[in-house]
């Protein structure tokens, strides 16, 4: 809220002596940080950030009250004229508990307009003056004292005024010209012809004050915050009035604000008071709150003398009585946020200044807990992938239905994962897979000129269940573009599916995940995190002896059909070899060339043998012959 310095100084003269920086620091220390300062003709306005619990501070008077308590300086008295109340000129009936008090007055307006000083105050606070004294005075009062009031054209009101719940489907054209259809939970001010205002939110068009208005009926009431908030939300009608009533106005201000309004109209346009009266009364205050000194000391981090606490709360307007080692505190009528002992402790600390809170490390009361295995696993996998040259991405959890459909299995319908109120269609489904997001990110990077793209993400994916979307932490990796070719020793080649298979092996995935071809030269896979092997419990595995005898290596170059399954061949050859001596059997080269017989390729199979003795050539030759025979049984031939 904008606070104008000159008007603030009228409420608390001591504030005039502070420079802007000091004032901002005091306000910040009180919990009201200043977001900006605007220089105006001859003065300044501060953009003060007021938290939602402090409706009482949303005015110049409210901020002045806080400064007065902190600086221990007096507030200027509120200059109300003396309005003597009399009999009701118009019956005002309060039919709902949500409006316990309704002060009003009827005045005949005379000649005159809003004083220039007030107009410039309103302009400074971004409230445009209407040049109708009754309207401008009401706005000025709201900004200055925080109490919303309203002026009706008294001659437009038919008969008695009632504060009541609206009838279903009743309508009201509000001041903004919109026809509102009301519900039974909307509180209205009504005359005998129907609603004339949405209580605490906005007046009605039919009874609004215009330049033709001769007599006004003023309203200065108090409405239940919850009711005002609900109506403002229901009608999407958030006004200065609903903002203040919604956060809790001061019921004791109802009469005072009415008197201030009367005095302004008398002064500004020679208005004549015809009558003033009040229906209802200020509601009984909430029960006092006890503040235990032990609790205060616990919260503050050190003992706070009873007198100091008592004095601080009294400065904030609380009525404090001492009962043993506790304070019995009745908050002032404008504070609705002091409901429990902790609230009061905060007030004491706030006035002392949070800078006085000591700094202490909390003692350990029990053993620290371990990091969860799933968390550690994610950390380990992410680090391994980063070391392998992959970049971790963070993409949105919601994607378009089309993107989602690319990788969502049929048993995971999008309907159960769709948002009711997405930011847009393209962000409407909680993704079943991370691959659509990674594919889009990879393609974007390739368009940006990346030679090689290596990305991974660790994030939840969603599965529709009757109880709602079930989250499953997943790992997805994509790899594409050109590998190597960036230095004189590494030849360039395209990234292939086999590279993803190698990555899966590096991560110790059990088996090969499905490698998807996401686009030309772009591949990816996705696995659930649970599929990744857990870190071992043992710090170091059990020792397994290994042979110290030399190993023997033999290669076999085989001509095989193009359709030959490597797994079958490998299995057949391994079965023919002595398991206890076979260290390794692997294909180390695949050669496909027009020089080979049509329909055939050459595989170079490498075997490594080792035993607990020195292997002799004849023995190894025998094994190799057996392996060759096994390969030949599948149609392979020794390549000449």
């Amino acid at each position: 809220m904008w606070i104008e310095r000159k008007v603030l100084a009228q409420e608390i003269p001591a504030a005039a002596a502070l420079d802007t920086r000091q004032l901002c620091e005091v306000l910040a220390a009180l919990g009201f940080p200043v977001d900006g300062v605007a220089a105006l003709e001859g003065t300044e306005a501060l953009d003060v950030d007021i938290t939602a619990n402090r409706g009482d501070a949303m005015s110049h008077r409210g901020i002045a009250r806080e400064l007065a308590a902190k600086l221990q300086q007096p507030l200027a008295p509120i200059a109300t004229g003396t309005v003597s109340e009399g009999a009701a000129l118009v019956p005002v009936r309060l039919e709902a508990e949500a409006c316990p008090i309704y002060a009003t007055a009827v005045l005949a307006l005379g000649e005159g307009i809003t004083p220039e000083a007030v107009q410039s105050f309103l302009r400074a606070l971004e409230a445009s003056p209407k040049r109708l004294p009754a309207v401008d005075a009401s706005n000025e009062l709201l900004l200055r004292y925080g109490h919303p009031t309203h002026a009706f054209d008294a001659d437009a009101i038919h008969g008695a005024v009632t504060v009541r719940w609206a009838k279903a489907a009743e309508t009201l054209v509000t001041l903004d010209g919109v026809t509102r259809t009301l519900t039974e939970r909307d509180l209205v001010i009504a005359d005998e012809a129907g609603p004339i205002a949405l209580a605490g939110v906005m007046g009605g068009d039919r009874t609004k004050v215009t330049e033709a208005t001769r007599r006004v009926l003023l309203e200065s009431a108090w409405f239940e915050p919850k009711v005002v908030r609900a109506t403002a939300r229901r009608h999407s009608l958030h006004t200065d009035a609903s903002h203040r009533f919604g956060r809790g106005a001061d019921p004791a201000m109802a009469r005072v604000a009415r008197d201030l309004l009367v005095a302004r109209l008398q002064a500004w346009c020679q208005a004549k008071l015809i009558g003033a009266w009040t229906s209802g009364a200020v509601p009984a205050p909430a029960a006092p709150v006890n503040l235990d000194l032990t609790l205060l000391a616990r919260v503050a981090g050190e003992a706070v003398p009873l007198e100091a606490a008592q004095e601080a709360l009294a400065r904030l307007g609380c009525t404090v009585t001492v009962a043993g080692d506790r304070l019995c505190v009745a908050p002032p009528t404008w504070r609705h946020d002091l409901a429990i002992a902790e609230d009061l402790a905060e007030e004491v600390l706030r006035l002392r200044g949070y800078e006085h809170i000591p700094s202490v490390l909390p003692p350990m009361e029990g053993p620290p807990e371990h990091l969860a295995p799933a968390y550690l696993l994610r950390q380990r996998v992410a680090r391994r992938l980063a070391q392998l040259g992959f970049h971790q991405t963070v993409t949105y959890g919601f994607i378009s239905p089309e993107a989602d459909a690319l990788f969502a299995p049929p048993d995971n319908p999008a309907a159960g994962r769709t948002l009711a109120n997405p930011l847009g269609y393209e962000y409407s489904v909680l993704r079943a897979s991370l691959l659509p997001s990674l594919k889009a990110t990879a393609e974007q990077n390739l368009r940006q000129g990346s030679r090689q793209i290596k990305l991974f993400e660790l994030a939840p994916t969603y599965r529709s269940t009757p109880a709602g979307p079930r989250e499953q932490m997943a790992l997805a990796a994509v790899w594409g573009g050109v590998l190597g070719g960036e230095d004189y020793l590494s030849p360039a080649r395209a990234v292939l599916e086999a590279d993803l298979a190698g990555l899966a092996r590096d991560l110790d995935l059990p088996g090969l995940p499905t490698v998807h071809r996401l686009a030309e030269g772009l591949f990816g896979f996705e696995v659930e995190l649970d599929a990744l092997p857990r870190p071992q419990d043992r710090i170091i595995p059990v020792f397994r002896p290994f042979s110290r005898f030399p190993s023997v290596e033999r290669d076999l170059s085989l001509l095989v059909d193009l359709g030959q399954s490597y797994a079958d061949l490998h299995q057949a050859m391994a079965a023919a070899l002595p398991a206890e001596s076979l260290l390794e059997l692997r294909c180390v080269d695949v050669f496909r060339h027009k020089s080979l017989p049509e329909g055939q390729q050459a595989w170079l199979l490498r075997m490594r043998f080792q035993a607990e003795r020195t292997l002799v050539g004849d023995e190894v030759d025998g094994w190799v012959s057996a392996a060759l025979a096994a390969a030949e049984s599948l149609g392979a031939k020794l390549r000449a």
């Binding site: 909390p362 991405t393 990305l455």
Partner: protein, 356 residues
């Protein structure tokens, strides 16, 4: 003397030095050697034949001349051979030499996402104080996201203009903060809180709010929640812990400042400022000249939050804080646009991320 020799040999003899110099490699030298002093059909063998058939009286003189020539040729060839061999060795050595300025093969180097790195760093900072990591789902219930946190029934954050809800499950939403992890964790540990000796944890994670995407807003962002419950916990413990953690993060000279503020789930509540880590609190663009940067919101756990979880607020108390990860990352890196963190341009990730 020369008249005793055939003129073509005399001529060859005269061109020998030039021919020798023209030999660029050992092969050429070998050919020249063959032509002059080779065992067959060389100038030398022809001269030897000439000597055989020469008249006796000329033999002595001719023999001396021939020897002189042969010696001259052999000497020249030897010297040239040594030169050529030295040059070859030198080239061989050069060919085997390595120029360290040539770009070497580079082992691949990827990067963790800068937001994840920052969250990991925070976990590292809190680990020595006995904090572990708690996590919760991103799809949450209204009860965990709002009700358990003392957020009033009619709070505006609950509106569909602020919070994403699931179409098929109106009671489910995307969590708007990491605070529901507080509720879940407190509910879980409440029965044996005394045996555990309270609890202290961090909850890093992704959260969602219905904000349009622009340079300072994103519908998905990250928070790190911190919570501690114990006996006799007050604001001094919050201040002590944060002072330790923020000094570990930003350096030992870092100062912190608590200012009163309001969040429904804490009482008292505060905002925490840190002396500007970029300018050393001298005043810069990032701290807007004030020397302070707002870093997180915190406070003592509201008794209603403890009560909701089944923990007696008369016996137990604690503190909680919540920190915006993007905000801190942007501040520290001076990244001008929040969207860069979600665009995942490899150049950005490589530059802003790291391996640990």
């Amino acid at each position: 003397m020369d008249q005793l020799l055939p003129p073509e040999i005399v001529e060859a003899g005269q061109t020998f030095p030039a021919a020798l110099a023209a030999c660029g490699d050992l092969d050429a030298l070998l050919r020249l050697k063959g032509a002059f002093v080779g065992r067959e059909a060389s100038h030398a063998t022809r001269l030897m034949e000439l000597l055989k058939t020469a008249p006796k009286e000329q033999k002595r003189e001719l023999g001396a001349a021939i020897n002189g020539l042969k010696q001259q040729w052999e000497e020249g060839l030897k010297v040239r051979q040594a030169e050529l061999e030295a040059a070859k060795r030198k080239l061989g050595a050069l060919a085997a030499s390595w120029d360290p300025a040539l770009p070497p093969p580079q082992p691949p180097r990827g990067a963790l996402h800068p937001l994840n790195r920052l969250m990991d760093r925070l976990v590292d900072v809190f680990r020595p104080m006995g904090f572990h990591v708690e996590e919760g789902p991103e799809v949450e219930t209204e009860a965990h996201n709002f009700d358990g946190l003392n957020i009033p029934e009619d709070h505006p954050a609950k509106a569909s203009s602020d919070t994403f809800y699931l179409a098929a499950h109106p009671e489910l939403l995307l969590r708007t903060h990491t605070s529901p992890v507080q509720v879940r964790t407190l509910l879980r540990v409440a029965p044996d809180l005394a045996a555990r000796g309270g609890i202290r944890f961090l909850a890093p994670g992704r959260v969602y709010r219905k904000d349009e995407i622009d340079p300072t807003h994103s519908p998905m962002f990250h928070q790190v929640e911190g919570m501690l419950v114990g006996h006799g916990i007050g604001m001094q413990h919050l201040k002590g812990t944060l002072e330790y953690a923020l000094r570990a993060l930003f350096g030992p000279d870092t100062e912190i400042r608590l200012r009163p503020s309001y969040f429904p789930f804490v009482e008292p509540g505060c905002e925490v400022d840190v002396s500007c880590p970029l300018c050393g609190a001298k005043g810069c663009r990032v701290c807007k000249g004030s020397g302070w940067v707002e870093i997180l919101g915190a406070g003592l756990i509201h008794p209603n939050v403890l009560t909701y979880a089944g923990i007696d607020p008369h016996e137990w108390s604690g503190w909680a804080f919540g920190m915006g990860v993007e905000r801190m990352a942007m501040m520290l890196s001076q990244t001008p646009d929040l969207r860069l963190f979600f665009e995942n341009d490899q150049r950005f990730l490589k530059a802003m991320g790291g391996l640990d």
